[in-house]
Structures are given as C-alpha cells and as structure tokens.
Symmetry: C2
Subunit: 346 residues, 2 copies
Amino acid sequence: SRSLSLAVIPGDGIGQEVVAEGLKVLSAVLPPDTKLETREFDFGAKRYHATGQTLTDEDLEQLKEHDAILLGAIGDPSVPSGVLERGFLLKLRFAFDHHVNLRPSKLYPGVGTPLAGSPQIDFVVVREGTEGPYTGNGGVIRTGTPQEVATEVSLNTAFGIERVVRDAYARAQARPRKKLTLVHKNNVLVHAGRLWTRIFEQVGREYPDVSTDYLHVDAATIFLVTQPERFDVIVTDNLFGDIITDLAAAVSGGIGVAASGNINPGREFPSMFEPVHGSAPDIAGQSKADPTATVLSVALLLRHLGYDAQADRIDTAVQADLAERTGRPARSTVEIGDALAARVSG
Amino acid sequence: SRSLSLAVIPGDGIGQEVVAEGLKVLSAVLPPDTKLETREFDFGAKRYHATGQTLTDEDLEQLKEHDAILLGAIGDPSVPSGVLERGFLLKLRFAFDHHVNLRPSKLYPGVGTPLAGSPQIDFVVVREGTEGPYTGNGGVIRTGTPQEVATEVSLNTAFGIERVVRDAYARAQARPRKKLTLVHKNNVLVHAGRLWTRIFEQVGREYPDVSTDYLHVDAATIFLVTQPERFDVIVTDNLFGDIITDLAAAVSGGIGVAASGNINPGREFPSMFEPVHGSAPDIAGQSKADPTATVLSVALLLRHLGYDAQADRIDTAVQADLAERTGRPARSTVEIGDALAARVSG
Ligand SMILES: CC(C)[C@H](C(=O)O)[C@@H](O)C(=O)O
Ligand SMILES: CC(C)[C@H](C(=O)O)[C@@H](O)C(=O)O
C-alpha cells in the first residue's frame, strides 16, 4: 500500500471552501490501498496579522516533508499589496525551486467564453517560475524625490531556461499535435531574447518531431483572442507567462476552471498546486465559489505524482459536470464538490 | 496662411500603399489656406540592405525640420529580427523623446470583434515610450555557454513617469467619463511599482475630478476581454503598454483600424504617427491593405498639431465608412482612400 502525504494550505477568503472540496474529490478518487495523510498549515492574512510572519525557515522545513502542497488562495485587502505575494507565494516558489509553472487552458463543452463563435481551445502554458523579473533584483535611489530612479532587473540563465524549455518540449512531444511555441520579445529584449531563442533552437534539435514556432508576446495576445486554436504548448518567461496565462484563463472559461501547478519536476522539493483565482473576499464564507479550478489542480497534482489514471478520472468528471451546467440553477461550492466526488468514485 | 511640413516614411511592404491614402485624405481635409509640404524618406529594409544604414544622425537632423512624421510600416522578413526595430523604430522614439505613445481603442459600429456580445469599447492607452525595459540596458556574460547569464534592466525615473502620468490625467480630464487606470505589476516589480504608484497618486491630487483605479497587468488582460467597457484612459509602462495595446487592438476591431502616435507633447521634436499594423509583406503591392488605421493616425497627427476640427472630420468619415461596410464587397486600398477623401471634403 502506498501513502500520499499532502500539505494543505487553505489560505484566505474562499480558499478554505474550495480546498475542502478538492480534498473531498481527492479522497474519493484515490485507490483504496493508498493512504492519504494531510496536514493543514495556517499561512495567509490571519497569521500575518497575528504574528507578522508569512513563511519562516521552519515552515519550509515542515512543508518539505510532504509529497505535494495543495493551496486554496492567499491574499486579503487588509494586507498591503506585495507582502503576501512576495513573502509567501514567491518565497515558496523560489525556496522549492518551482521552475515549471504549468497552466493548462481547455475550453470544455458548455463552458462560456468571452470570445465569439465556438473556438477550440486546448493548450498548456509552461511558464518559467524562478527567474526573469521575478527575482526581486533591482533597486531605488533618491527615494521619494523628483530625482528618484528605480530599476528592475530580469535575470535569465542558460541553466534556468534550458530546464524549462526541455520540460516544455517533452510535454509537447507527449501531445497529439506536438507543437511548441516560444513567446518572448526578442526584438526588444535582445540580451534575454537571444538566450531564450538560442536554447529553444538548441534543445529543439533533440525533439525533431516537435514543430516549433515563435511569437512576440504582444502578437501572442492577439492570437489568444483571434486564433486560440493555433496553440498547443507555449513556453515563456516568468513575466510573459504571468500575463498570458491570465488572458488564457479568461478566454477558456474564466478563472473558475483555471488550474495551476508550481512544479519541481525532479521532485527534490514538493510541488504546489493551486487554482489560478484569488481569495475573492467578497464571496467568502457563502458557499458561492466554484471549486472546479481547485479540483482540476488536484488532477495536476495527481499526474505529477504518477497517479495518471486518477487524474484522468477527475478530468472526465469535471468535463461531464460542466457539460450539464447549462440552463441549470447554480449550485453551492459543496454541491459541486459532492457531484464531482460522486462521479470520480462511481 | 499656415503651412504643415510633413516627413513621410512609407517604409516596407504595404507601407507605401497605406501612406498614399493617408496623404490623400490629409490633403482633402486641410483648410485651403494651409499649405502641405511633404518630403519622403526611404528608411526601411531596402535602404538597410543597400547601405547598412537604418537611421543616421544626418537623417535625424533632416527629420527634425518637419512638424510631424507619418510612417507606414517598417520591417521585412529579410532583415534579422530586432535590427530595424532597434535601429530605426526605437532609435527614433528615443532620439525625439517620444515619451507618450498614444493608442486609442474604439469599436466602431459595424466593425467585427473576436468578443461575443456587443461590447462598448472606447478607451485610450497612454504608454510610456522612453523608459522601462526598452532602453537596451542589460547584458550577457559567458555567451553561448551553458553558464550564460543575460540581464534586461528596466529603468524608471520619477521625471519620466511624472510627465507621462500627467499627460494621461489631462487626457482623462478632457473625456466625459474622466477615469484613469494605472496598469502595472506593483506586487512583484516593487521597485518600479512603488515609484509608479507614488507618482500616480501624487499627480492625481492635482486632478480631483478624475477618478482613479489600479490593475495588475495580468488582471488587465482579463478585463480587456471580459469588461472592456470599464476602461476610459489607461496609463502604463513601455512593456506593459506594448502588450495590452496589441490586445486592445485585437478586441476593438483588429489592427486594420488601430492608430498610434509617438508623441513629444512639448513639441521640441516632431511626433510620429503610424498604424499599429506591420508591413504585411504577404499582401504588399496588391491594394488589399486597409488604409483606415493610417487615416486614423493622420487624425491623431492633426489633433496633435491643433487641427481639431479636421481630425474630427476624419473620425466622422471613418465611422460612417465603417458602418456601411457590412455585407458589401471588399474594396481596394485606393477605393477606401478615395471614399474617405470624398467624405472629409464633402
Ligand atoms: C500573486 C502573484 C505574485 C502571482 C504572479 O505574478 O506570479 C499571480 O499573478 C500568479 O500568476 O500566480
Ligand atoms: C516593433 C516593436 C519594436 C514595437 C514595440 O515593441 O514597441 C511594436 O511592437 C509597437 O508596439 O510599436
């Protein structure tokens, strides 16, 4: 018998509610001989207000003992912008070397999209997670004066780019269309652009069956709304990935169904899975939040740990549930979780 | 009698064709007592291949003698990515201190959009044009090795931010809704983010009748496709502006109607006006290109030089022309230019 040890971080706002449903579906889908052990952590706004702490070295030590992390949402208007983002979310990504941020976009039948027509959307963005302008590098002189100068430094290493590009090629190769698009801005950001382009081409020689493509990030946003079907796998830098995955979520059914994994592919550290949506304090505690994005994040978690059949069952259940929503009354967070749990165990 | 002296840069691909129609409409709309003098410059791929030059100091001296610059499109697949972009387009923006990149997005009646429903879109992006990650700052060590490191440095000055933010507030104040949204990523890019936020709030105190709003760039892309009607004026940095204006063009009728001005508001240097679209070599020379974006750029040019009534007439003519397109056979570049010229002089 196997065991799966999970660190659970409900976090703020609707985090608690959606994570409960994610765990419900996880328990329902796991094979009977797999023992699920969960430990809850209280990170987020409440702990920050009470202790001033966001994520300590000791916290990291404790998180490290788990196979994976499931997170609901972190963030609250009562905490100044940036404190929990950098003090918790980014700190965790860097500490656990989550260099692959995986964000699938699939427009399931029956799900609304702001796009006209019936676009076919089924692609995945592989966003670099530990470099680019996210490293905190940069600074300020003459703060608060009319002569203030502020810099932000984007750091890009061959090492860091190669590993994420390689991951993206492997994912593209495993998909039917086998197509990989590099998104950057190499006509303006030439230093980083040349490095990304060189490594993209170099690694590509090892994947001759994967067809490749390049788009500037500005052009990519156009195609995401006019021809989303042209995308299969996209690999891109940390900041461009942040921007285009929100757009991708918006066109493929909204953040109610957008899942995300912050992955350490070599499993030296536990990977973290979370819905793309935030803590939505306006609807917290009302059982109004859609737990689907969290449930799909659980599927990504299972796939990462090798439970592919179980992940498939969640995907199928979600697809069936979404297809039946049109015209029906809205259900509560718990009702959707119950329905999905029933489907995966049925 | 006044005179208007214009530097004309047809450039590459469809540039020649659309600029000819832009000039036709300009001639038709100008008051009879205004003398139009144009001088054509041959910048672009052909000159680069013949001479290796993109934009020399002498070129800049000659351009400087004009009231404004009208550009068609620069760029050709035969020139390596980045050469004409940095050697010509960006060089001109920096040399002539085009710190306001003005990009209106208006969905005219009868114009198609990839968005479902009938969104109301009428906003303008004021993009900073001389700072951020566009300055060429950054570098590379250990080029071509597995230890290569590349940096890109985003430079942000209180001076540079204040002047563009002030310009944006003034534009917001002059519009009926008087709303200004700052788009940045101040929860991650904290050094630049704090500076932008401080100046945005500080300058805002001088415009108490303008309502303000802040969005992270990733969230802004979501709203651009789900609630574009929420935007009135947006002010943002060079890179974020590049990205969201392409998305904005895509949702508001496509790059066929997207106009752009690279403006030096104090008029120390001539400002440059150009369609957002590129040189489209695939349809060059076939009179298939839509000159509307160039004609709308001419309207921006006229407004910048104080010919407001003439700019209004172009806007009205374009609006009427677009409204009549549905269901009619496609017209050639010249036919559309003729129709618009007839309308503005009628
Ligand atoms: C909250 C923020 C730090 C984060 C990011 O920018 O990566 C978020 O936008 C995301 O995409 O996960
Ligand atoms: C061609 C390129 C340098 C340019 C930019 O990035 O500014 C273009 O995308 C634009 O938006 O005008």
